[in-house]
């Protein structure tokens, strides 16, 4: 029974792994193919089924005039917009979450939990509902088709995630830690950044990861709110999909687009396992 269970477990995990890894393998394999290898039927193993080439990768740096797809600028635009949006969202979201966790706000029938819900309610609405107001507002402020406009929109979209995660996290940090810091001579700001913040790093990392993922993978708003001046990576990649799709470059670009998230996940995973509050309140 035990052996059967183990076999079954491994089988399920293996099938799931194939399901997850197969698209990556497909993209990696395709990124090293050329026109012939892609169009002459299915091929899988390099040097056996097809001769690998770096043509798809080289095209990423070439301008369209020279036969390339040039995703360098959209790539760095994406990094800039996502990082700036995420950083500001985490900064503001963490402060807002700390206030919501530690202080009691009352305005009519509105309480702390209502304010927290108000933040997250913006993520409950379908993005298309927000698109037109964003479009009009950015237009009014001359921020359409600009990086700054996208950053502002991303802050609005990402901050609720940061607030939601961090409120929950701060609620689990004992208030007595803040109080002890105050008694030990910290003013409220020092108590926050010298004691509460260092103990909240796992929560900030989780919130940061979510912000980065949501920001990096956004297509809808970057598509709606940009035209010719600014282009982000998801839009640039989708734009490659045309009647003469260069599948090899498209695959390479797709891999480039997931690489930062994988790198961040590997780095962050170490910090996630490090921090905990077990010594604060046994």
């Amino acid at each position: 029974m035990g052996l059967l269970y183990t076999c079954l477990k491994y089988l399920v995990v293996s099938l799931w792994s194939i399901f997850v890894i197969a698209p990556f393998l497909w993209a990696i394999s395709t990124s090293f193919k050329d026109f012939q290898s892609v169009t002459n039927g299915a091929t899988y193993i390099p040097w056996v089924d097809f001769e690998p080439t770096l043509e798809g990768w080289r095209a990423l740096w070439k301008s369209p005039a020279k036969g390339g797809v040039d995703i360098v600028e959209p790539f760095f635009n994406s990094i800039f917009v996502t990082c700036a949006g995420s950083l500001i969202s985490i900064l503001l979201g963490t402060l807002a979450a700390y206030a919501l966790s530690r202080f009691t706000f009352k305005a009519g029938f509105i309480r702390n939990s209502d304010i927290t819900f108000f933040f997250i309610s913006q993520r409950i609405m379908p993005p298309v509902v927000l698109a037109i107001p964003f479009f009009i507002m950015l237009g009014k402020f001359a921020l359409l088709d600009t990086l700054l406009g996208l950053i502002v929109v991303y802050i609005v979209l990402l901050m609720p995630i940061a607030v939601w995660i961090m409120v929950d996290f701060f609620n689990k940090v004992p208030r007595e830690i803040d109080e002890t810091a105050l008694i030990d001579g910290c003013n409220p700001y020092q108590a926050f950044y010298k004691v509460v913040l260092p103990n909240s790093i796992p929560g900030i990392i989780v919130a940061g990861m979510f912000c980065l993922i949501f920001g990096w993978t956004d297509f809808f708003f970057s598509f709606i709110l940009t035209f010719t001046e600014v282009q982000l990576l998801p839009v640039a990649i989708v734009a490659l999909n045309s009647s003469i799709t260069p599948w090899w470059s498209l695959s390479a670009a797709a891999l480039v687009s997931v690489a930062p998230l994988i790198a961040v996940a590997f780095v962050v995973e170490r910090y996630l396992s490090k921090g905990n509050l077990s010594g604060a309140l046994k």
Binding site: E179, L182, N187, G279
Partner: protein, 359 residues
């Protein structure tokens, strides 16, 4: 140096957390605030620390308005019942934290941290992470951090309550020595506890609290011998003092038709009327010449046995200084040592005490 609280009040909705609290505390003394859970002990300590602002009333330290000083500028240290430390810092950094906040020189910080760690028995643990310590060690770190500040007022909010029995017993003795030394350094030490035994062991002054109000204040012996009310007698005794209704008539105390005994000497002048009589568990023993009681529960605690006894409406707990087994429902004869009998009026105020006679 003296800390004077005048008419401190704090109300949340309809409930008083502090109700007209007044006291005067002097340097070099240990004060134990004893009360049941939700009596207002922690609220009072946090008010003294400056973490809670009272609705009304004042706190004065040496004549200056202590209540106006922000918490981070008060010369106060506090240890919580939970083991509160900074998990991102080592033991050394935890203890040094309040000194670094004051901008004290590194060499002095080092000397004072090492002295505090030595006091609490944690020398050699400087580089350990808090998470790597046991509960008792974590509480020692918190205590070291409170001692290192050399604050004028040290607040200890049930610091032993979350430790296991053995460790609590061990630390209680150690802490008592540390506190006594600390108090002699011209500090005011305020210790809160629900445990009467702990309060009596620490000695010093006792403040009995209930529902946000201070019921009685005095030295430990005086409070033990002459609890001002039936409530105080229950709070300051473990197990709580037995209270039973009775009537004084014709030189006797009548609890029930079967349980009647002569008025003890210190109660002779009680006018004939209804009273609540109090007797500690230790004053109720098994004796063939006693009154018949049914055993409701028998509890062995260490080398003693607590017997929960019932006779009609009279319910008492007796204490035997040996381990004995009894059957539930068994009838035993219990003797009341009336020389230790307290008499409280029906409103709870003390009328007669075995130690000071009539009130």
């Amino acid at each position: 140096m003296s800390l004077i609280a005048s008419n401190l009040c704090l109300k949340a909705d309809t409930e008083y957390h502090l109700n007209d609290v007044c006291f005067e505390m002097s340097k070099g003394e240990i004060y134990t605030i004893i009360g049941r859970t939700l009596a207002g002990k922690t609220t009072l300590l946090k008010t003294i620390a400056g973490l809670i602002a009272p609705d009304s009333g004042t706190l004065n330290l040496d004549g200056s308005d202590f209540g106006r000083i922000p918490v981070w500028k008060r010369e106060v240290a506090m240890v919580y019942q939970q083991f509160i430390n900074y998990p991102h810092l080592s033991v050394y950094e935890n203890v040094a934290f309040p000194l670094k906040q004051r901008g004290i020189l590194k060499t002095e910080i080092h000397n004072r941290v090492m002295k505090s760690l030595l006091q609490v028995g944690l020398e050699g643990f400087e580089e350990r992470k808090i998470q790597a310590l046991s509960g008792g060690q974590q509480q020692r770190v918190a205590l070291a951090r409170s001692l290192v500040k050399e604050a004028n007022i040290v607040l200890l909010d049930e610091p032993l309550v979350n430790l296991d029995y053995k460790l609590r017993e061990q630390l209680r003795e150690e802490f008592r020595n540390i506190f006594t030394a600390k108090a002699s350094e011209d500090a005011i030490l305020i210790y809160s506890s629900t445990d009467p035994v702990e309060a009596m062991q620490l000695g010093g002054q006792i403040l009995v609290m209930d529902e946000g109000r201070i019921l009685q204040q005095g030295n430990a012996k005086a409070v033990y011998e002459n609890p001002s009310s039936a409530k105080v007698s229950q709070i300051t005794n473990d197990p709580a003092m037995n209270l039973f209704e009775g009537t004084v008539a014709e030189g006797k105390i009548i609890l029930s038709p079967q349980i009647q005994f002569d008025l003890p000497r210190h109660c002779q002048e009680l006018p004939p009327e209804k009273y609540n009589f109090g007797l500690r568990a230790a004053a109720i023993t098994l004796d063939e010449g006693g009154f018949p009681f049914t055993i409701e529960l028998s509890e062995i605690s260490g080398s003693e046995t607590f017997l929960h006894l019932k006779h009609e409406h009279v319910k008492v707990v007796g204490l035997l200084d040996s381990v004995q087994n009894f059957n539930m429902g068994e009838t035993v004869m219990a003797r009341f040592d009336t020389t230790h009998l307290y008499a409280f009026a029906t409103d709870g105020t003390l009328k007669s005490s075995p130690y000071s006679g009539m009130k």
